[in-house]
């Protein structure tokens, strides 16, 4: 808000325009009411409940508000599984964010080079997996990893993997989840990056071309710096999203039942679910959720305030 005020104060024309729109400005707030209601119901409300629950005691499946004090925090932070699950998702986040970022940006830059039919078909194909529910993708992925039935079976067999059990194992869980996550979420990021790249001013591109810029230089030296805001935004989103991984490992561990290579508290969210479903303790589960909130918000604040990519005013 303050940045906007400063901008408008510096510019008398805009200042007047703002004044003129002032009479209808308050009505425009109505347009965001549905969004605010949704945020209150599905984000802020549950978050507030989590804060309350984290201090509550659950003895008979029902909360006694603020009766637990800091007990839930002590119990969760002294559970070795808690840190192990963070260990897993931190490894996963580093790998998945890197792969997701490099892969999506790389493919988007390539797509921005193409102007033919192939490019538009490729764009649609790449986006498709993102349109499927993660639960379904998780289940399909089990089959994708089976050299006997997978369409990529020949690749697996080429490196000596003749059965799923040759490489789908606990030590490879981070890599497997990364591949799954990239397959599922890269499409949306490729689309966002692609639009960002297409949004770069045509005049700039034309003048670069006149100066003898090759397509690769155009992509890397001209387009890439113009979209750094999106890049940082993506990194914030990916880190938050990757730390919260739940659906895919949970579905896979449930589907494989007694033969799962993923334990029931592989990620913090799975641990939260374990506390809830096996111990009936929503208080401990809330602590796990809050720990993720704190990490994600801290990371966002760091990126927004320290990278300079989100500066809205230069004065």
């Amino acid at each position: 808000m303050s940045a906007l005020n400063r901008l408008t104060a510096n510019d008398s024309y805009r200042h007047n325009a703002h004044k003129k729109r002032g009479t209808i400005g308050d009505w425009s707030l109505l347009l965001i009411v549905p969004y605010l209601i949704a945020v209150a119901m599905f984000h802020l409300g549950p978050a507030l409940v989590a804060v309350i629950f984290s201090f509550s005691k659950f003895t008979f499946g029902r909360p006694e508000f603020f009766a637990a004090g800091l007990d839930n925090f002590v119990k969760v932070f002294s559970d070795p599984v808690f840190f192990r699950s963070y260990g897993n998702v931190i490894q996963f986040s580093i790998l998945a964010t890197t792969v997701g970022f490099v892969g999506s940006l790389g493919i988007a830059l390539l797509l921005a080079l193409t102007r033919d039919q192939f490019g538009s078909v490729a764009r649609s194909l790449l986006f498709l997996p993102g349109a499927i529910n993660p639960t379904v993708v998780g289940l399909i992925f089990i089959f994708m990893l089976d050299p006997v039935v997978s369409p990529f079976g020949f690749l697996f067999r080429a490196v000596g993997w003749n059965a799923t059990t040759d490489f789908v194992s606990a030590s490879n869980s981070v890599v497997i989840m990364t591949a799954l996550r990239f397959f599922m979420s890269s499409g949306a990021w490729i689309a966002i990056f692609y639009s960002a790249l297409e949004g770069v001013s045509q005049e700039l591109i034309d003048s670069a071309k006149i100066d003898g810029c090759s397509p690769w230089q155009l992509a890397w030296l001209v387009r890439r710096p113009m979209i750094m805001g999106f890049v940082w935004f993506m990194i914030i989103q990916l880190v938050a999203y990757n730390l919260q991984i739940f659906a895919e490992p949970y579905v896979i561990s449930t589907a494989l039942g007694g033969a799962s290579f993923i334990d029931p508290y592989w990620s913090p969210n799975m641990l939260g679910s374990f506390y809830t479903l096996q111990r009936g303790d929503l208080g401990m589960s809330a602590v796990v959720s809050l720990s993720q909130t704190v990490i994600s918000i801290s990371a966002s604040i760091f990126v927004v305030t320290r990278t300079g990519a989100f500066v809205t005013s230069t004065d």
């Binding site: 308050d26 707030l29 009411v33 605010l36 209601i37 209150a40 119901m41 802020l44 409300g45 549950p46 507030l48 409940v49 309350i52 629950f53 659950f58 003895t59 008979f60 499946g61 029902r62 909360p63 508000f65 559970d79 070795p80 599984v81 192990r84 006997v148 039935v149 003749n162 059965a163 799923t164 059990t165 040759d166 490489f167 789908v168 194992s169 606990a170 030590s171 490879n172 869980s173 561990s253 449930t254 494989l256 007694g258 033969a259 799962s260 290579f261 993923i262 334990d263 029931p264 508290y265 641990l271 374990f274 809830t276 479903l277 096996q278 111990r279 009936g280 303790d281 929503l282």
Partner: protein, 447 residues
Amino acid sequence: MSKNTLSRFVMLAVLVVLSLGAALPITAQDVPQSDPSAPIRVWVDAERARQVQAFIDANPDKASLIEIINEPLGANVQQRMLLYNNIGGNWPDVIFEDPSTWRTLNTPAFDFFPADLRPYIPQDVLDQFYPTANDPCIAPDGSLICVRNDIAPEVMFYNVPAMAEFGYELPTTWEEYVALAQQVAEDHPGYTMGQLDGWEPQLLWYYHSDCPIMQPLSASSFRVNFLHPNCQRMSEMLDTVNALGVLDHQGTFSAGYGQIWEQGNWLIHFGPSWLPDFVIKGLYLNADDPENQGTVGVALLPNWADQTERTTSNVGGGSYAMSRHTLNAELAAELIVFVSTNPDVGAAQAATPAYMPSAALWGANLLTRVPLLASDPDPWTVISEAASGVLADGAVEGPPRSSPVFSPFFTDIAAGNRTVVSISEELQAGLVEAVTTAGFESVTDGP
């Protein structure tokens, strides 16, 4: 700006109301009233729905009181129970589930959902179940929180023509099994003598070795000692036999392992009593091929030479439980007793009945259902004897559960990344963690 302030205030109010609405539970009524004419809701999967239908057919006067709700097994029972407890109502009256689910729900966190069925089932009826079949249903305080419908003792399957052709004797001890494995590796390399994958290794290999994986000591503590000699002897055996190359790793339910069977390159396999009906017939062998008939022998699981009693583990089996909130406990219990002990209902079901009179009828049809099995010795006699020897420890699981700890480690063993002995200490730490994370205490030494 006043409108802005107003809208912010409204938003805050909406937020507070929504959060409180989500957070505040409706106080539950803890004392159920009794009403012999109250209807009951029965939550079962499709297979068990037929059993409930049999009760309705036998008691048409009660048909109007019974509502069948079709739910797949494992349909988030705990999750829904939390919600039902929170609103203080809507509990189903009878549910069919895994016994470990009832053990989880029989804790304060789930407000002790299952009712004690002892008042409704005479002891002489309970005595006709296989000896340890109802052990998973006995709560630490002695109450009977469920009644077992079916059981799954582990047995040894063997390739009758191949064993005869090679002139091998069936191993009755693990020592003999290791010796046979060495002979097979030398004389007939390529033949498999078992499956070593991530599927329930603690049941298939360890419990029957008298290994204290999670031995209940009290309501709140377990003996967890995977470093115990009784466990280590099995780990060492697995490594020895695995190094000989006679164990397959493709997975019990994989098409690849089925091919090994179809090609006749298997010699021995260890698995539960439901394997012939559900896996051997169909996935492993083509039951319509006359050449396959009578090729699969069933024998008791080997034990260690110094184990005085023949023991085995149990790999699966469901149970019925009654809600302690039910208004019509008489009818609910009558239904549970009928479906668990009616011989005709038991004989018609897919898995081995836990009630011996039903099991006898079920077993009499085994050879007809699965002609792949060899008739001498009679496979049902073997399975029934194995069912009597399921040791109590191997029958009780949950909470905590050891399976989620074992499986990931054994996927690494199947992939060839680790040996069984080398994972022992990490596995032990994992088991202790599982006990702690589930809210219990562990004792790591002792017998």
